[in-house]
Symmetry: C2
Subunit: 343 residues, 2 copies
């Protein structure tokens, strides 16, 4: 009930205000904010035809020779530094496949997202667009990273444990107690932020995350889905750059033979609801738990958070967008505070 009331209040505010997302927000003091790109490498392109076109009404003809040197594999990051500052380290939010940093901004139903949540608690936040996506750009296709893959509207509904399996998008049915905002306008708002994904970028993505952490310094990293797999692998390369690692439904793991490299990185592993009933997510979590066991066997700490076991039900793969996203963020916040990373 409380949920519905609150949603109605937000809709009323939306209808009244010139600026969207009124809600309950208090003003924030921001010491600094900004953006930059890190990483990347240079490649040479040759043998392509020159392109000629006349852009826009009233423009002048343009001749572009696409041959030459390009920088590819760079990554975009945006940061905000609040005051007072209460986090003991910067907090990074790494998104998953087919997505950008918008994952952590406002939710598809217009509430404040996890970026807001952690910023309001005094963390310096960094939101990134992984290599190949969003403001990180796209390298020449298909020459550099191959052809991208695209997700049609039904795919996340059925694959991210929102709907109840194959055909559920067409049926318009969801898993019992589903927390994702599935009203047509909200699901559309989510699909508008979906971007293509390339299969040939993993090594560049890993390098760019290392470059980001080298620039910013040791950080708390919250990483989702594909970003979680990258985070585990980056942490194996450079464990000293991680103060803590929060893996929200990671879609993969690190390299098991090198699990000991993670023994000093306090880690939370979190999955939402209906994981065991899903043929694919059950395998993914089993892999993540086996990898976590290997880290523990080497003396490391991985806290395994199964949300339904804690009475938090109905979470999809997109936990940071689910209606109870703040409740789950509180759980992460408390865990970080317990580890002395917030004062």
């Amino acid at each position: 009930m409380r949920r519905n009331t609150s949603w109605r209040a937000v809709m009323t505010a939306l209808a009244l205000a010139m600026v969207p997302f009124s809600g309950h927000a208090q003003p924030l003091t921001i010491e600094r904010f900004g953006s930059f790109h890190v990483g990347g490498r240079q490649v040479e392109i040759s043998g392509k035809p020159v392109i000629e076109y006349t852009p826009t009404v009233g423009g002048a003809p343009l001749r572009i020779d696409p041959n030459g040197t390009y920088v590819v594999g760079q990554m975009y990051a945006q940061f905000m530094q609040p005051s007072p500052q209460r986090g003991a380290a910067p907090l990074m939010l790494w998104h998953g496949a087919y997505l950008t940093g918008a994952t952590y901004e406002n939710t598809p139903d217009g509430r404040e997202g996890w970026e807001h949540f952690f910023l309001r608690r005094g963390w310096i936040t960094y939101v990134t667009d992984a290599v190949e996506r969003g403001r990180s750009g796209a390298a020449m296709t298909p020459d550099i990273f191959g052809m991208p893959i695209y997700l049609p509207t039904a795919n996340p509904w059925e694959r991210f444990r929102i709907g109840d399996g194959a055909g559920s998008h067409a049926r318009g049915t969801v898993l019992p107690g589903n927390q994702f905002p599935t009203e047509p306008e909200h699901y559309l708002a989510f699909m508008r932020q979906v971007v293509p994904r390339y299969l040939g970028t993993d090594e560049d993505v890993l390098n760019a995350y290392v470059a980001l952490l080298e620039r910013v310094g040791p950080s708390v990293v919250i990483a989702h889905s594909q970003g979680g797999a990258f985070a585990w692998q980056v942490a194996q390369r450079r464990p000293e750059l991680f103060r803590a690692l929060v893996l929200v439904e990671p879609a993969g793991t690190g390299v098991e033979a090198e699990a000991a490299r993670l023994k000093d990185v306090p880690t939370m592993l979190m999955y939402g609801d209906y994981v065991d009933a899903d043929p694919r997510w059950s395998v993914i979590r089993r892999n993540a738990r086996r990898f976590s066991d290997a880290i523990r066997a080497a003396g490391g700490q991985v806290e395994d958070v199964d949300l339904p076991s804690r009475g938090i039900r109905g979470n999809s793969h997109m936990i940071m967008m689910d209606r109870n996203s703040d409740q789950v963020a509180e759980l992460i916040q408390a865990w970080l505070a317990e580890r002395g990373l917030w004062r």
Copy 2:
């Protein structure tokens, strides 16, 4: 001299601080900030093969059927609302071709950009990624918008009036008094934010800007290059949604036969240095001036700002990134204030 000293101070701060971009910044009070997507349309894709792959270490095999419904042509916007609020309307910053909203964030040499400048003066700012670019996503290629075009490293150097014409990037030479930050690491920082451009998106871009203005309400729009041509065309469709229009080196115009539709939109038309000496930019400005004359003939106001004539020299096409970007922003700010749009 002053410029060099200030730059050295920033570099020292950078070296000392955990967080980049120290500078002179005072804290900002932000009432609200956030992001959303607007616009777009649905398309059906069929006849494509199913894609199968296993993502990342420790993942589970994935089968993506790319056939189905897609939303394409949507646009991403990010806003910040400062306190106290002094602008009489929201202020939008629309970028040019091959670029994203990052255009207006920190400059390639790490200074605060125009987003910071106007936010610090109390304007609600909206920074967008035009359709097809950045966080707005990319529709299935080549099916929806054709194949994209890519800019190699030498292209903007030579085309944006930074270097002295063809071959200047290889020579490492610039126009006399050039203001763009051309140190190798800064030019690289600029190239990292360059994205591909599609030729088939104009109508979707125009529709998305209309959708944005309908959502936000009448605004001051500062638009650059290709974004300037779009802004003129959007303003012709919906003049009541524009409080003022600042066109920074627009790469095109509106439709001359409908110039009268702009008679109530106060407009500033601005170009930097070396325009007349450039065979392409001289044509573009001539077109823009002819279009401006048509607006004036219909009773409208267009203030023609030729920066060198005002003693502001050396500006490239990327005025908001040039070393004197704040000086030029002050000129825009004063013009808006004179029109009663800032209190």
